[in-house]
């Protein structure tokens, strides 16, 4: 019977067909539970996510689903709401369920402490790497992303480039500042003023735009640490009488559709390729499950999505 349904043993085609027909007739569906008990594989992985807006975790989940083969392997999704107790709880629950592996999707790119509870299965950290270098992590190459954004601005004729970004404490913020400086330096340019550290919000973007216009009226481009900031900057600049992109070009980060396309003008943005992060994490996890762990930090490139906000200067 198992032979007929899985096509494993050797038996006549006709027999196989008959068994399958009867099975279908009876609505019989073999139990994956019983198979798991014997083989030790559940074809199920845990996906631990820590952000409940899902702005980062969801694309990761989708990528992972792709890699896990649409239902071949399914994901048990656990939202920890950033609570270590809950995380611990979920990990135990996953272990009890004998998942084949675990993906941990972060919310910030700062390294996070590895999963507690000594999971006896492979773990892959996605987006936020584990602070233990012996773990397997998949991260976005944010520095290259920032560099690409700035190079794009330079290529389209901008020279006086400022950087308005999020809170100093975030690893992403520092990395993006480094990338920005690097790209400018390579082109023989300097950042206009210091980086403007603030929040991730539009309000901060508007405020920064006003201040920036006062202190550096000659700025002709702003690279922003997020789409929300960029959108605030766009509105702020417009209200100060600067035209985007004619007077000032803008590039954001996240390529978050609602913000990037609602912005006036639509926003050029660095896409963090989170789906690809998820896909890579899923693929690495599968490989780790079958052939053993592949520790290290795996990097996925960003992708610059060009829209109207960074059109070449009219002059």
């Amino acid at each position: 019977m198992s032979k007929a349904l899985n096509g494993r043993g050797q038996l006549r085609d006709e027999t196989r067909a008959r068994v399958q027909a009867v099975a279908h007739e009876l609505g019989f569906v073999p139990s994956a539970v019983a198979a798991s008990l014997l083989t030790g594989r559940t074809y199920t992985v845990g996906l631990i996510m820590t952000d409940h807006h899902g702005r980062f975790s969801l694309p990761v989940l989708h990528g992972a689903e792709d890699a896990l083969g649409w239902g071949e392997t399914l994901a048990l999704v656990c939202d920890t709401r950033d609570d270590p107790i809950r995380e611990q709880h979920y990990v135990r629950s996953l272990i009890r369920r004998r998942v084949d592996g675990i993906i941990v999707a972060g919310r910030r790119t700062d390294p996070r402490p590895p999963l507690g509870g000594r999971p006896p299965v492979p773990v892959v950290y996605a987006f936020a790497r584990s602070s233990d270098a012996a773990d397997c992590s998949v991260v976005v190459n944010e520095e290259a992303g920032a560099r690409e954004a700035v190079e794009h601005l330079i290529r389209t004729g901008r020279r006086r480039i400022a950087h308005v970004t999020g809170p100093r404490g975030h690893a992403s913020v520092r990395t993006r500042v480094d990338g920005t400086r690097h790209a400018l330096h390579e082109a023989g340019l300097e950042l206009v003023g210091e980086p403007w550290y603030g929040g991730w919000s539009e309000v901060w973007g508007r405020f920064a735009a006003a201040a920036l216009t006062r202190s550096h009226p000659d700025v002709d481009a702003v690279f922003c640490g997020s789409d929300a900031i960029a959108r605030g900057v766009a509105d702020g600049l417009r209200e100060c009488g600067r035209r985007v992109p004619d007077d000032v070009a803008l590039v954001g980060v996240d390529n978050w559709q609602p913000t990037a396309e609602g912005c006036r003008p639509p926003l050029t943005s660095v896409d963090l390729n989170l789906q690809e992060v998820g896909r890579t994490a899923g693929a690495l996890l599968l490989r780790a499950i079958e052939y053993g762990a592949a520790p290290g930090i795996h990097t996925v490139p960003c992708r610059l999505v060009v829209r109207a906000s960074s059109a070449p200067a009219s002059g």
Copy 2:
């Protein structure tokens, strides 16, 4: 042993403690797989979602997680990307895995065809009800939400109220128009002009605001079909020289933080209570699993979140 760890059989406390201690020492974790095989319950449910931004599904997932008791019962998440083939595939996969039940989270409120494949387990539809009335669905009371929004506007002194909303084809759009008309009628008022049907985007909101200002310059409030539209309307009105909320009050729908709080001024919005929808769906599913199905359409109320955009008229 099973008795000691689950505290089920009757045995001396000391024995129980000793067994537990040794088990912990050895890092022994009992296998839920084996238990499921025997008891027939996996303490796992399927969550089928159809929107991959997750703007609707994710809150539903969180609510469901609450109801399912943080790890007591976990959810296998499947994103169908609105593809019936993939949905079918996932359902089969869930059945093979012997999930205890399935939650189907929609993306639009229009009734959807019930799940194919005759799942032998309870199914609860969340947000989008099943078109089969014999199924169990949890939906938001959008009409009451619209009514509440309009009543709020009336209570704060508005009389000339217009409605800018999404595409005519959507059930939500029709329901919200009905709620709006109903509330106005009860107060002895009439909608200013016809409802403005369009898209869900900011662009449409901006366009509609300009047109509305031209055709009905005396409008003192706009109830919008979504936060994105409302935000567009806010920008459009401002550019036509109307002040929000002094001249025109605004209310949106979705209470989607980034949009509602990024808006100038911050947006009063009807919260669809999706988390509560998820919680109810989870609770109903558990009840259905243990005591049999509770068919019918269960309704969850909306919640009006008041922000600056609907402050009473200054005059």
